[in-house]
């Protein structure tokens, strides 16, 4: 697999080779090769043992029928055929995609909004307070998050419905209906993850030199123009980074549906990783779980390739 270059020069965006050092480096190639092997060894061992070997294992297991307790039997492509007959799979991919896109959008768009708003002039301690508030949920385990929200989202006695009642909104059955359960998962997961996105945006914004922005202020550009003409282009690599990372994360949501809704009602809030877990460790159908897992890997690879290709049109590298 090779990812398309987003820059077109300098050996590709993924190679990490800086054009300036190229010639100098060539002389040292042989010596570096040995050193590189040494430096890469610790990660390499981890990669072989805990990424490559299990991945090969997943591919192999997808050709078997196995329940963990009796010996596996080879079933050829039966598991792959089952993919097309599994009406749950389609439903689960539907809910996963819906929730992932929403989580992604909230993280990337709302996260950006809040991070930019944090840039306005305000006393230092207030800024620190806001920043910490946003980060708060990020440090809490998803299982604790889900336990908390299970009570807050209670249809009858939960605080969320209580406060919404003041806005004239009738009690919502957040966790018990197919319409609201995925929205509850989206809100809870975004609540937890947005702090990280904001943090990365803050870092990205700080990376933009003040002179550039001050120059624009002197130029008299208004805030809106300044944002779209200067801040956003310079921030685009950060946006792209968050898009890639959040896509990968959003498709791996597990604890929230597991503790909050058990994926239900029906499959309305079931994520694909939860489905894989359930198939493997509740249905003890290891072979099929592996096959479903492969479809997820394929999906993530395709999505990331698309993002890299599209990013060439809009990301701006210095």
């Amino acid at each position: 697999m090779s990812l398309p270059s987003a820059r077109g020069t300098g050996g590709g965006v993924l190679s990490g080779a800086t054009p300036g050092g190229e010639r100098h480096m060539i002389r040292r190639r042989r010596g570096d090769g040995l050193a590189a092997a040494g430096f890469l060894a610790p990660s390499g061992v981890g990669f072989l043992l805990f990424v490559l070997a299990p991945t090969i294992g997943v591919v192999l297991l997808s050709f078997f029928d196995w329940n963990l307790l009796s010996p596996p039997t080879f079933v050829g492509g039966a598991n792959f055929a089952q993919l097309f007959q599994d009406h749950h799979l389609l439903a689960v991919y539907g809910s996963t995609t819906f929730m992932a896109v929403a989580i992604l959008a909230i993280n990337v768009v709302v996260g950006l909004l809040l991070a930019v708003l944090l840039e306005i002039r305000m006393p230092r301690w207030i800024r620190a307070f806001f920043r910490l508030s946003f980060l708060f949920p990020f440090v809490v385990s998803s299982s604790a998050v889900a336990l908390i929200w299970r009570f807050l989202l209670d249809k009858d006695f939960g605080l969320v419905n209580y406060w919404l009642g003041f806005l004239g909104i009738p009690h919502i059955n957040w966790l018990g209906t197919t319409q609201w359960a995925p929205i509850a998962i989206i809100l809870v997961n975004s609540w937890k993850t947005i702090g990280f996105s904001i943090l990365i945006y803050i870092a990205g914004l700080q990376g933009i030199p003040n002179e550039v922005r001050e120059a624009a202020i002197v130029d008299g550009a208004n805030a809106w123009t300044r944002f779209w003409r200067i801040t956003f282009p310079l921030l685009s690599p950060t946006v792209f980074f968050l898009l890639v990372i959040n896509t990968i994360n959003a498709f791996q949501v597990f604890a929230e549906p597991r503790v909050l809704t058990q994926g239900g009602p029906g499959d309305s809030s079931r994520t694909i990783v939860e489905y894989i877990y359930d198939t493997a460790f509740q249905g003890f159908d290891i072979g099929y779980a592996s096959t479903v897992g492969l479809t997820l890997v394929l999906l993530l690879v395709v999505l990331t390739l698309i993002q890299f290709r599209l990013s060439r049109r809009w990301t701006f590298y210095e």
């Binding site: 890469l40 002039r121 130029d219 503790v259 990783v273 460790f281």
Partner: protein
């Protein structure tokens, strides 16, 4: 800002050639600022409110108080719920396991990610592009997909149901390598040249030149890794079957009880105790994360 950041931004300043104008709408900016402030305040309150509910629940003497609407301060705060947590589950054991696991993973990743990140950023070797593509590709293989073979590998090593089965699988971190590579790329070349003239080898270069400049980056990786694995529910769910080897996230679910018979106050006390340590670490350390990422950038 740090001086070592790669420059080049100024050269591509869009719209910088326009003649300067007098700032027009000062009052407009003020309105905008107030509006922004209100949005931030609402968001902050909405995000923090659930925690206040938890902390209140943790010190409430009875669950009845938690059903009172509107919620108020607890009438007679008590710490009894914290004691009950220890009675109901081996909470201290869970906490110790979590500390061991999260700390070990963090140390392991600091080693593997910094060495590999250095190789990718500073060394020239054949197949580097392909190798780095594999690293990014590994990001796309969720642990949940490979968990069964991982479980088998751990079984063959005789490590399932031990803390090792939680510590070893995250030894390789694509994200960590990426983060450290970005950092090492941002360090100025001149440093290296100078050290090389002094006759420094790669090991000395790494340990005596590069690492001392990597405090914030290493801290960032450490904090993110620690937080993530401190909170992980998935791996222990699969690898661990004995209660004594479980970590806090599983422990909290156990605290909720068989048939959800757990008391709200006890659960809240358990959550509070699980949150506080990470929270303190994070409050202190989040500054470094911003500093480190701002100076190295996040180009993929």
């Amino acid at each position: 800002m740090t001086a070592i950041r790669t420059s080049g931004v100024a050269s591509s300043r869009p719209g910088s050639s326009r003649p300067s104008r007098v700032r027009s709408s000062r009052s407009g900016e003020v309105v905008l600022r107030v509006l922004a402030f209100v949005v931030l305040a609402v968001a902050a309150v909405a995000i923090v409110a659930p925690f206040l509910w938890v902390f209140r629940g943790a010190v409430s003497p009875t669950d009845a108080e938690l059903y009172k609407l509107p919620p108020g301060l607890p009438t007679s705060p008590t710490f009894g719920n914290f004691g009950k947590v220890f009675e109901q589950v081996p909470f201290a054991q869970f906490a110790l396991n979590s500390i061991i696991v999260a700390t070990s993973i963090t140390l392991l990743q600091l080693i593997t990610s910094s060495t590999a990140g250095y190789a990718f950023a500073r060394l020239k070797f054949r197949g580097k592009g392909a190798a780095f593509t594999i690293v990014i590709g590994a990001l796309m293989i969720p642990l949940q997909v490979t968990i069964v073979p991982l479980f088998l590998i751990m079984t063959n090593l005789g490590l399932t149901n031990t803390l090792w089965s939680l510590i070893l699988p995250p030894a390789f971190s694509a994200f960590g390598i990426f983060l450290m590579r970005q950092h090492f790329l941002s360090l100025p070349r001149e440093l290296e040249e100078a050290a090389r003239i002094d006759g420094a080898g790669h090991l000395r270069m790494f340990f005596q030149v590069m690492l001392p400049l990597s405090g914030p980056a290493l801290a960032t990786l450490a904090i993110l890794t620690f937080t993530y694995w401190w909170n992980d529910l998935f791996v222990p769910l699969v690898m661990i079957s004995s209660v004594n080897q479980e970590t806090l996230p599983v422990g909290l679910v156990l605290l909720a009880g068989r048939y959800s018979t757990g008391s709200l106050g006890t659960i809240a006390a358990g959550i509070t105790m699980a949150i506080i340590p990470v929270l303190i670490v994070f409050v202190i350390a989040q500054r470094w994360i911003v500093q480190s990422i701002a100076s190295s950038g996040l180009k993929i």
